[in-house]
Structures are given as C-alpha cells and as structure tokens.
Amino acid sequence: MAVLNMVEAIRQTLADEMARDGRILLLGQDIGRNGGVFRATDGLQERFGEDRVVDMPLAEAVIVGASVGLAASGLRPVAELQFLGFGSQAFHQIEGQVARMRFRSQGRYGMPLVIRAPFGGNVRTPELHSDAHEAKYVNSPGLKVAMPASAYDARGLLAEAIRDPDPVLFCEPLRGYRRIKDEVPDADYTVPFGQARLVRDGTDVAVIAWSAAVTVAAEAAAQLAADGISCAVLDLRTLVPLDVRALAEVVARTGRAVVVHEAPMTAGFGAEVIATIQEEAFWSLEAPIGRVTAYDTPYPIASVEEHYLPSIERVKHAIRRVAGEV
C-alpha cells in the first residue's frame, strides 16, 4: 500500500495493464519520449517500446478514429486526448463511431478501447483546457463515462475501463494529478462500474458529485459537520453506468440533496442527477435539490476561475439553503 497522487496511480495502472495484456497499446500527443505533458505515461515508452507507446500527429479525430480501427483489428487501444476540450475535434468519431460501432456492426466489432482525457479547473490553464464536457458524452449512448475522484479509484476504474469490452471515456481531473493523494494497494484490483462511493454518510443533506468536485463537496461537508449539519457525500464514480439505486438510497435517508459539478449549469449532468432523484425518490424529497455548478458561460480566464467554479463556500451555502437554514 502506497500513498499515490492520481497521476502516479494512472501511470502505474497503465504499466501494469500493459504488462498483463500485450494487446494494449497507448497512443496520444507527446506521450512517448516526453512522457505526456502531465507525465502520466512517463517511462512507459522506454519500458514497452515505440510500438506500444505511440506519439501521434496533432489530430484528435484520427487518434480516436485510428483507435476504432486498432480495436477492430483485435487490439485494445488506450488513447489519450491531451485535454478533454479537444475531444470536440473528435466528437464525430467518439459519439458517431466509437459509441456506435458495436451496434452498427451488430456485435461483430466491439470497441474495447479507452479514451483518457484530463480536464477540470483550478490549475490555471489557458482557454479551452479546463472545460467539463462530460454531459455531452453521457448523452451519446454506447459509451461509458468514468470520472474518478481519488487515486484509489483512478487505478481501479482505469483497470476496469481497460478490461471492459465497451468503450470508455475516462476523464481525469487535472487538479487531482498532483493534489489528490490517497492509499493505493499494490495488488491488482478493479472498481466495478456503476457503483457510487459513499465518501461520508450523513442524515441531513446528500451532496452528490464526481471527479474533483468530490473534494470540494467533502470539504464543505466536513466544515458543516462542525456546525451540526450532517451531510452524506456520494461520489458517482461513473456517470454511465449511473448508480441510480445509490442516489435513491442516500436521498431516502436525507430527504435533501445538492449536486455539485464543474460544468456549466444548464444541461450539465447535474440536471440528470436531479431528474433521476425526483423519479426514484420523489416522496422522500423535503426540499428542492440544489445545484452548485459553473456558470452558463465559457470557461473564463484563469485569474477568475475560482469565482466560476463551485467553491467550498458556495457548496456550504447551498447545503444550508437546502437544509432550510438560509
């Protein structure tokens, strides 16, 4: 058992999976000699060779599109988008091809591939690097979407994603690469998809989040505990599959909920969480479910991003409001 940050956990998982399964190959921009701009693949090209860790031309659609062909040939590509924001360049390949190839070919060509993509705020990137686009991919059936919030889950969910016969978009929070650290077992394990993680239990308000927003939610909950508000914090881990039961259960206990995410509010995945809860746990609800999200604006310049993103203060305020305190 070692304490790793998320980027270390991811790197180790990639190495272990590649050692385990010779069909896995990595492809992406600057992932070889440079080891990835965040060093997620540092040392892997040295270890596995240029044929299995491949620096690609600067073209996201063909990184994804070639992965479709590689998968059809019997391999298990793990593609890296340098940033999720540049997944938009490959959007037609992801939603139109990756997600639909099994269906289109009626099972002949499964797509056991993973698309890794960092995203998320608070690391002062230039424009377009931090945007949380997850909802767009969730609304693209055929794809699974994983959003780990801890190093433990980054490892377990990535191993699961690589082994899953379906294509997975694996979103990695930039903020967590260095700043989220926790214990990661040395032994092999996977975290199954569709099982949310109860980060903390509580009786007053359920706070639901994924990826780096879980840290914000947990911190807000911890601070409010001192004030006598007992919050459950649920980390969804994967948005597709969605752990509908866990949502219903936690809200059944609390009767109140707040969703927190880094994407713009309107048509963000928080809306789906709210819709699902009101479908599954309507009669438990004692107050409107709160949303703490980014605004409905493009991701702003880094100097004001902390005002744009859900902050601990905003989450606490929303919890208090939902709890009926303000």
């Binding site: 190959l25 044929d51 690609m56 031309p57 073209a59 659609a61 063909v62 994804v64 599109g65 070639a66 992965s67 479709v68 062909g69 590689l70 998968a71 059809a72 040939s73 019997g74 391999l75 590509p77 037609h92 390949q93 139109g96 091809q97 190839m101 099994r102 269906f103 289109r104 070919s105 009626q106 099972g107 002949r108 060509y109 499964g110 059936p141 055929g142 699974k144 899953d164 016969p165 379906d166 998809f193 569709g194 597709v240 599959p241 969605l242 509908v244």
Partner: protein, 361 residues
C-alpha cells in the same frame, strides 16, 4: 500483368492511367492485366451489381426496400480495385457505394437486402468476411482503415486494407488526418478515392480546385495515382501495384479513380435538377461494362449465348437473395437494444425490458 511503363504525365498523376479503351480495345503495347478467365469472373461481378441495382430500384419503388445508392457506372472502379485484394487476408473499409467489393470479400446479397429491408442484422458481416460496416458519416471510415492496417501489421499479419471514399467525402478533415497518419506509420493502406463527379448535386469543380486528387499524396509522403475508373484493367493494375507496395512494407498509396455516377445519388434524389444531359450522355458512352464485354467477346471468352445464360444466372441469384431476405423473420423492437453494449448499464437494461410497452421510459 505487364503494362507499358507509366508516362511522365501519368507519373505526375494528372493524366489517368488507361488501358482498355471505350471500344474495348487494349492500348497498344499493353498486356491485359487479367487473364480472360479472371476478367470474365470480374465481369460477372460487375454485371451482378448492375442487375442488383436495377432490381433493387424497382423493389424500392414498390416500397419493399429502403433508400439505397446504386453503383451504376462505377462497376469497373469498385470491382477492379477489390479484385487486387486477397479476401482471405486483406480488408475492405467501405463508404456505401461499394456493393461488389463487399460481395467479393464474402458478404452476401441476402444480407445486404436484409439490411435495406430494415433488419439491422443484415449489417453484420460474418466472421471471416473482412469488411467494416458501411459508413454514413462521410469519411469517418478513413481513419478506421489506417488504424486497422496498423493493428493488423502490429500483430504480424501480412494484410492490407483498402478504404473507399468519394470526391465529396475527400473534403472532410478525417481524410487528411488519416492520410497524414498513414504516411507517418507507413500503414499498409490504399486510399481509393472514387471521383464520380458528384457529391449528391455538388459537382467536383465546386468540391475542389485541384487538378487531380492524386496530387494530395505528395503532401503526405507517398505516391498518388490517377486512373481511368471506367477501365477495369487500369483500375486493377494500379490497385495491384498499390497492394504490392503495401505488402512490401512501403506504405500507403492514394488512388483517384475517375469515374461517373450514371444514376441518381440515391433513390430519393432527382438528378435532372443538376446533371447536364450532355455530360451524362458522354459518360454513358464510357460505360465500364460495355468495355469489358467488348474485350471478352474479342477474346472469345463471351458470346451471345453465354451472356444470355450468365444474365439468367444473375437474375436468379438476385431473385433468390430477395426471396431469402423477405422470408427472414421480421425485425423486433428489442433489436433496438441488441449489441449496443457488451455489458449494458442497468438503466439501459431496464429500458430494454420495457421496450414496446406504452409504459416504457
């Protein structure tokens, strides 16, 4: 095979390689690229395609078949290129107007019809049929072909991949990204661009200003060839050369096959709105089937009697496929969910159970 060596302009890829003239006579000094037995087999596939198109058109008009895109006019282009492959190890990555290439690889008319009649299982290639599904999102298949060629070679297989796309599709960014990657990786892939004059109504002159699409290859570091796409022998020869390059590990080739769509874009299209009748007539005179037929007759490989017999055989083949497809069990609503995921999310599984009920989500 023992073609005359390419001329300088041919090499510059702005004058099409031509072997078999519109009259069915081989250019002086050229040996036929195919033996007469092989040419007859290729001709059979061309004629089957034409026969199918005609039958399918009338089925479509009767409401027994969905919208489809005929191959008519492009039979030499598709058959000549596919003929250069070895179906047991090579792969075809089609757009949607390459029926005979799919058949040559082992797909069946029955399944094609089944799909066009509305059953998705018709779109499943059987194991051993080295074909990717037809592509509706234009050009999106081209990156797949590169990845496929790369992956096969990565696994030590001596396979090459041909991908088809149109003059219209060639404008999509995916084609550029794929050709560039193929150059870098020396992928064993043949980019077979069928320039049939149109993207629906858009003439190729509005699609691009280049003198020849084949010139694009130099921008990616591999050879480009321009070929008379209505000439079975020339198409076969040029594609064969590309296959040999690919097998030798020399990487990709881009082939512009210059041909013409003699029919409508698809059964919903009205080409009289935009096709110049004179231009159409001039290309009708270059019908690829007429050419091969004339050559086969001049070689004594075909005569009136054997052609009547062949046509009857092909009519029968199409009729049997239609009958089999129509006899296939009707599509079920549940098929909406089949093969979407290998491991469906619970929510999707729940929707699946309810499909067809009014109370469904």
């Amino acid at each position: 095979m023992g073609p005359a060596t390419a001329t300088a302009r041919e090499q510059a890829a702005v004058v099409p390689v031509t072997r078999l003239g519109p009259d069915g006579v081989l250019a002086p000094g050229c040996d036929p690229a195919l033996s007469s037995a092989e040419a007859l087999a290729a001709f059979r596939l061309m004629l089957l395609t034409r026969t199918y198109d005609e039958r399918a058109f009338s089925l479509q008009r009767q409401g027994r078949l969905g919208t489809f895109s005929p191959v008519t006019g492009q039979e030499a282009s598709v058959v000549g290129s596919a003929w250069a492959l070895d179906p047991t190890r090579d792969w075809v990555v089609p757009q949607y107007r390459e029926l005979p290439a799919m058949l040559r690889q082992g797909h069946t008319l029955e399944k094609v019809l089944l799909y066009q009649m509305g059953n998705p299982v018709g779109n499943r290639m059987e194991e051993g049929v080295n074909v990717l599904p037809i592509q509706i999102s234009l050009a999106a298949q081209v990156p797949h072909a590169v990845g496929l060629a790369w992956g096969l070679r990565h696994q030590g297989l001596d396979a090459c991949v041909i991908t088809y796309f149109g003059d219209g599709a060639s404008s999509e960014g995916d084609v550029h990204e794929a050709m560039n990657l193929a150059g870098v990786r020396r992928a064993s892939v043949i980019f077979f661009l069928q320039n049939n004059g149109f993207a629906i109504s858009t003439p190729v002159a509005k699609q691009t200003a280049t003198e020849s699409f084949a010139l694009r290859a130099a921008g990616y570091g591999f050879p480009g060839e321009l070929v008379d796409g209505n000439d079975l022998f020339a198409v076969y020869e040029v594609t064969r050369r590309a296959v040999e390059r690919a097998r030798a590990g020399e990487g990709p080739t881009l082939i512009e096959s210059r041909t013409y769509r003699l029919g409508p874009h698809n059964t919903a299209d009205d080409p009289t709105r935009y096709v110049d009748p004179e231009e159409l007539r001039s290309w009708q005179a270059l019908d690829p089937i007429v050419r091969v037929r004339a050559w086969l007759r001049s070689e004594g490989a075909l005569d009136d009697a054997s052609e009547v017999e062949l046509q009857a055989e092909l009519d029968g083949e199409v009729a049997r496929a239609v009958a089999a497809a129509e006899a296939f069990p009707k599509v079920r609503p549940g098929q909406i969910f089949e093969h979407v995921y290998a491991r469906p999310p619970d929510r999707v599984a729940a929707q699946w159970e309810s499909v067809g009920e009014a109370g469904s989500a």
